[in-house]
Symmetry: C2
Subunit: 164 residues, 2 copies
């Protein structure tokens, strides 16, 4: 099973050539770029480019197109990282925990971690007081053993572009 997944992964990889990589880079940098400009950058015809973009979308390699909003401009400039330690819990509890945390819109990212910390959340709010409100909502939904928040003072880089 494990091995099968790996094969699968590498099959996916084989299906992406250098031209696809150029297309993906262009789309990551600017989702509103026209097929004409993308095709010129990849040195292919508009039509071929369209077919490739469609394939990349249908394969889920391009998962979605979105507009990014400046957090500062809408008063949500405070990023908070929350490390959570849990006691041993049942699979059912973990399921409930995961669903409850994911449902909170202020939770932008949510990972199960290796090592000391069990879960890591990235939360986006307007202020420290605002975080406290989210924190209270979280602990009301699930009982947590150990929660520790660290606040970002300054965002030096934040991109959605993967290093292709």
């Amino acid at each position: 099973m494990e091995e099968y997944n790996f094969r699968n992964k590498y099959l996916f990889m084989e299906n992406i050539d250098d031209t696809d990589r150029l297309i993906l880079r262009a789309l990551q940098a600017d989702g509103s770029a026209s097929l004409e400009s993308i095709s010129a950058g990849a040195s292919i015809s508009v039509n071929t480019c369209w077919r490739r973009v469609k394939r990349l979308e249908e394969a889920g390699i391009v998962s979605k197109r979105v507009a990014l909003i400046d957090p500062e401009k809408v008063g949500l400039a405070q990023t908070v990282f929350v490390a959570i330690r849990t006691r041993d819990h049942s699979a059912a509890w973990l399921q409930r925990f995961s669903a409850a945390v994911s449902a909170v819109p202020e939770v932008i990212e949510f990972y199960r971690m290796a090592g000391d910390v069990d879960y890591l959340l990235k939360i986006q709010v307007g202020s420290v007081a605002d975080y406290d409100r989210v924190y209270k909502a979280l602990i009301a939904r699930v009982d947590l053993a150990d929660v520790s928040a660290t606040f970002a003072m300054e965002c030096l880089k934040n991109t959605t572009e993967l290093p292709l």
Copy 2:
């Protein structure tokens, strides 16, 4: 100065009404949505909707439009959080440090933190071995006091949608 910025921020906020919020939510969820569908969702005419979207873009509230790529499908499924502690350093050193780290494409996010940890990086790579390569590149560029990496085992949520 501090107060002036706050005023500025709230002026921005006042310029976003409930209709804008509906538009922003729609664009965050699907950047390829047509003006027609967005205008219908916000109960305004296509024309007015176009004017509002343009205003939101020109004001930088919509900062950019991008295509999101599935990290798994391109073999970049390993997320690593790197906590960095620095000794006291000069402003010039911090400047150099920030520029060097930001220039690494695998560094997706980069924050200056409050509290115990000075800086936090989110790195996106293909494997733990791949991370080691990035780590070596980092320490070759700048001398760091204390670097500790934690690896994500599973991504439970990862969205670019801000809670508007």
